[in-house]
Amino acid sequence: MKWLKFAKYQIAEILPSVRNFYLIFLAIIIFITIISRSNSNFSGIDFASVVFIFIAGLNSFRSSFNFALANNISRKVFLKGMIVAIFPITITMSLIDLIINRVSNIFVPNPNNFDMIYGAYRDIDKRNIIRSLDWMPQNDVTTLLGTILWQFALYSTVFLLGVLITLIYYRISKPFKILVSVSPVILIVLNISIKGMLPESFGKGLSNFAVAAFGFETQNPFIAVLSFGVIGLVFSTFIYLLTRRAVIKE
């Protein structure tokens, strides 16, 4: 089971960064908790994990790919190992984030992203600070399981997005790299709005689709988990297509 060994290598490569991230993250949480007064709160700090996992995804292709080829591991084994390695990391991060969040909530109310999208916090009038401070985290099995699964699915998809972006840059030629890099700037400069170029009904339909696909309206996180799964599968397919003929670059 070479792919399993490669997954082990991949996990060992990412673990030190995860450890360092949580040391800093914990220090920040403790600091905020200490300085927070009794009538204050904070929220969504777990978004830092999303940023971290995205950067980890961006950085995890090149060196691992070189290592795989240095050990004469085929691209398909490399890919299988790399993708499998994501899941233990993201599920662990999801668990850690939930534990940190619920423990810190004992001292200062701080809803995580899941609470704000799918929990009761969404229905609280945010302009009323007193009502906000009254919020208590829900700790029933469905909420906890939903949080873990939703964060796990989100982190895994974001990691795959990071890998995909790196791979696109790795595979495309220099002129394309420049084109991809400057195109957002060109769009801003020329004030071309993609939304404006598309019919209004399209934008509305897309928005309704996203609301339904991520269970925003129904507050059903499990639909979002399913959607992340589909997106992750699409990303994985593109990663496979880009990796199968990839070669070492000087």
């Binding site: 070479k2 060994k5 490669f6 082990k8 290598y9 490569e13 060196s63 070189n66 290592f67 080829l69 240095a70 050990n71 004469n72 591991i73 085929s74 691209r75 398909k76 084994v77 199968r244 003929r245 070669v247 070492i248 000087e250």
Partner: protein, 291 residues
Amino acid sequence: MSVIEVKNISKYYGKVCALDNISVKFESNKIYGLLGRNGAGKTTLLNLITNRLFPTEGEITIDGDTVIENDKAIEKVFYMTEKNLYDEGHTVKEIFKWTNEFYQSFDLDYAFSLCDKFDLKPSKKIKSLSTGYNSISKLITTLASNAEILIFDEPILGLDAYHRDLFYKELLANFIKKPKTIILSTHIIEEISDILEKVVVINDRKIAIDDSVEKILGNAYCVSGSSENIDQFIKGRNPVNIEQMAAFKSATITGQLNDNDREAAKKLNLQFSKVELQKLFIYLTKGGRQQ
């Protein structure tokens, strides 16, 4: 077994041809020298053998199995490249540990004993190693991998004379202990000529020579004497190089030396000498195009 067969391989980078329809067979349990001038296509060929590049045309097999995305075939090979493919934050010991995971026959004790011999501290990070010690760490990993086929691309880059000599001795000892197919690609030909059994020369993107060292050197000779007599001797023969020093000339001629040649040389008062592999390589490849 561990036979590499390269069949009608061509490799193009865009419109640039790196290898043009080459076929060559690397037999099992022999030490090969893969020679060629800069840009001749040696590294391209090695990268194709190890599935790091894909051919434009043709097929490469190891023991009959294609090398393209085939772990069964490529895991028989350990390829030491000039380029460092390991994360520079790793220590030498960590490289051994991970190579041990992917190569079942990797010998950790042997790797550490080689570290002692080469004065390499396994606790050192790759990024802190000099060019020479970087090469040494890769040499040790390759030797200790115990793969059936070992490929070295510029193995002695940055090595001092002592370490080069030690490497040749260890390579031979390794081969004697457990025979395997070894391919050495280097520019320092004279130093390795004694340990090579066969030589494959790539010139102008094609295989120029594929023969045993003995046959190659037996099929060329050097003759020297007065310019006039040398000019007379080389008529009708195949000189690949002529050097002149004042009134004397020295000619390197390809072809079997026979009794008629000896007789003719004796009459002309000419002296025969053996050709060095490196010099013969230079003479035979000096017409090669550069990329």
